[in-house]
Symmetry: C2
Subunit: 126 residues, 2 copies
DNA sequence: CTTGAGTTACGAATAAAATCGTAACACTAC
DNA sequence: GTAGTGTTACGATTTTATTCGTAACTCAAG
């Protein structure tokens, strides 16, 4: 049975590249590598290889029209974030969302962020 | 330079065992294995080995007084949860706690949990 | 003291993730 | 067409995580 693509959890290295793609939009390996290597010493072919693996896993799509393929995230940032957070809630918080939220908010959370969260809660039907 | 213990992130297998330890309190390999093998087909020595590795990493402490060593989580559930959630916030949510909370809450979140979160917010100074 | 059951320790095998060197390929400029 | 540059493809290596077989050790019962 084929694995449901939404169940594919990106590895750490993959998540790093997805972040770049969400931020930049579709990009070539070179563009992605340029961004990533600003903060990490990662070889060009390493980035390429990871993108190829992500393509096999359908974590990214790619446009092969031009010589330099253009990669794009297959799923939205929001979708992926939701799935990562659900995974963490089930594996480390006994399935409790409220427990997670309690741990997420601490002294380092800005008043502005707290306000955003308040507004989110107010906008809920429940 | 020695790695800061608070920076040690448990792997998935390790997190599974920590969950058992948090739930049961200090326990022997046999007790832990019994719980774990109820839901997964994991060998006794596999559990033992992982605990030994966790001990090297200082994720657990152990009492060697008796023949069957007694293992306990080195850090509290709360502490570990906080560090896992911070890690996720930084790696997948651009450092934004509010973004994480927004993604964490969805239609499957119960009214009760929403209430718990509301109370948490009300109790904040900010 | 000897045996057997239960335990830890150790190391090897396997699997998954990440890295990168090199070859092959494709396009552009000449 | 040829050379040179930039690209992808491929495979090997390394690293980390997981699994488990087997040997060594410990204790209690006889």
């Amino acid at each position: 049975m084929a694995r449901d693509k939404s169940a594919v959890k990106p590895t750490e290295a993959e998540l790093t590249l997805l972040n770049v793609l969400w931020q930049m939009g579709p990009a070539t390996v070179r563009q992605i590598h340029e961004i990533v290597s600003a903060t990490q010493k990662t070889g060009y072919t390493t980035v390429l290889k990871i993108l190829q693996i992500m393509h096999e896993k359908s974590l990214v799509i790619r446009d092969e029209t031009n010589r330099a393929h253009v990669y794009a995230a297959a799923n939205s940032e929001m979708h992926t974030q939701s799935s990562l957070i659900k995974d963490l809630i089930s594996k480390a918080f006994g399935g409790s969302t409220s427990k997670l939220v309690m741990r997420a908010i601490d002294e380092s959370t800005s008043a502005e962020e707290i306000n955003d969260i308040r507004q989110l809660l107010n906008s809920l039907e429940k």
